[in-house]
């Protein structure tokens, strides 16, 4: 989306990350519904009495207004649309992981309203759903798959790379950019049966082996598209589990 000098108001958005900027300001990386990921300067937001301090918070549905063009626009106003409880514990770490995926895989100024809605839904679940009803793994895999699809890296899991129907009993390997190729594969290849591929296609992670497979497949694909960049939130999450 091209952006001339413009004024935007009433835009649903989430804060992904805030950085200190100059003496008293913040630069915020936000994911907005209709303008995608953008950078905004929040003037004076670091002053002790700034009303923005308590508003610019991750994992809360925000309503933003801004003006200007280019790399850094200027935040004009920010309010909470409503107030969700803060994320806590492992859910907070999952939230940070979603933010990092968006920051590293989604370019700036590229609108993805459907992905925005999925993100909002995922964060809302992490914030509001009772602990016992949220299956973290399924939530993550669903979001990762949707993210890749929305960014144009969609997976094809219901037929093979030649467009042929899958044989549930046969073995396949998944190759990034290509899809499923029949064969045993070797070493680092992600290999699965046709039946498992179909379960992945349906987002059906009830089978523990399929759930593990989904995790491995997503890790390999995301690493492929990250081109060697480290996912900091994943490393920190693993280190925290080991405490």
């Amino acid at each position: 989306m091209t952006t001339g000098k413009q004024r935007v108001d009433g835009q649903p958005a989430f804060l992904l990350q805030a950085h200190p900027y100059r003496e008293t300001s913040l630069v915020v990386d936000v994911f907005s519904r209709d303008f995608g990921r953008i950078g905004l300067v929040a003037r004076g937001a670091k002053r002790p009495r700034s009303q923005l301090r308590g508003v610019l918070v991750e994992f809360q549905p925000l309503d933003l207004g801004w003006f200007g063009a280019g790399e850094l626009r200027t935040l004009a106003r920010a309010e909470w649309q409503r107030a969700w409880p803060m994320l806590s514990g492992p859910r907070l770490l999952l939230g940070y992981y979603l933010n990092e995926l968006l920051q590293r895989l989604m370019v700036r100024d590229d609108a993805h309203p459907a992905l925005f809605d999925l993100y909002a839904e995922a964060v809302q679940k992490l914030a509001l759903a009772p602990a016992e009803t949220v299956r973290h793994e399924a939530l993550l895999r669903g979001f990762e798959k949707a993210l890749l699809r929305e960014l144009g890296y969609g997976l094809t899991l219901d037929h093979d790379a030649n467009g042929d129907a899958l044989d549930p009993q046969a073995r396949y390997v998944y190759k990034p950019e290509l899809g499923l190729l029949e064969g045993e594969g070797s070493g680092d290849d992600v290999s699965m049966t046709g039946a498992q591929a179909l379960a992945l296609h349906e987002d059906d992670y009830a089978d523990a082996q399929v759930a593990r497979l989904a995790k491995t497949l997503m890790r390999v694909l995301i690493a492929h598209y990250l081109q060697g960049q480290e996912l900091r939130t994943r490393r920190v999450f693993i280190e925290l589990q080991d405490l």
């Binding site: 003496e23 008293t24 809360q60 907070l92 939230g95 920190v236 280190e239």
Partner: protein, 197 residues
Amino acid sequence: MNTGVLDELVSALRCLPSVGPKSAQRMAFHLLQRDRAGADRLARALGDALTRLHNCARCNTFTELEVCERCSSPRRDASQLCVVETPADMLMMEQTHSYSGLYFCLMGRIAPLEGVGPKELRLDRLLERAADPAVREVILATNFTNEGEATAHYLGEMLRARGLAVTRIARGLPVGGELEHTDIGTIAQALSERRPA
């Protein structure tokens, strides 16, 4: 004119938080032109601080001693250990005059997006400190930001797993606060953390 020394001073001043190139230049000119005595004092103070101050072996804040005065004071209650993010937070706690226990200062917080985890924070030192048999309760007083909450959660898990009683400072409406003039985030959180009356 060779300005290598001046450039070095300006770029050195930029290591201060929130100091950009313009402010750094203004500071450098001010020190050199208008306040050379102040500059000399600053240089000495920095040198002294760097050579004489280090982290207290008990609370991790800065001290000239091996163990700071507060940590070695017999008047402090050694059964309570309060964990804060920064020395400034510790000073605020002290200003309340309602806490007489000891402290551990993390000098930071867990910040997943910045890659700051348990290793970068050196949480092993807190574990070692909390393992002192005199400690009966660890009070988590990290900020009520998302990062402060993540820090408190994992510290809580880690310390409880080692048999310690762990508490978290409470949050809610400010003292003297009226609902009408309170932000909705605070009200929502206070509602979700309501307690029996």
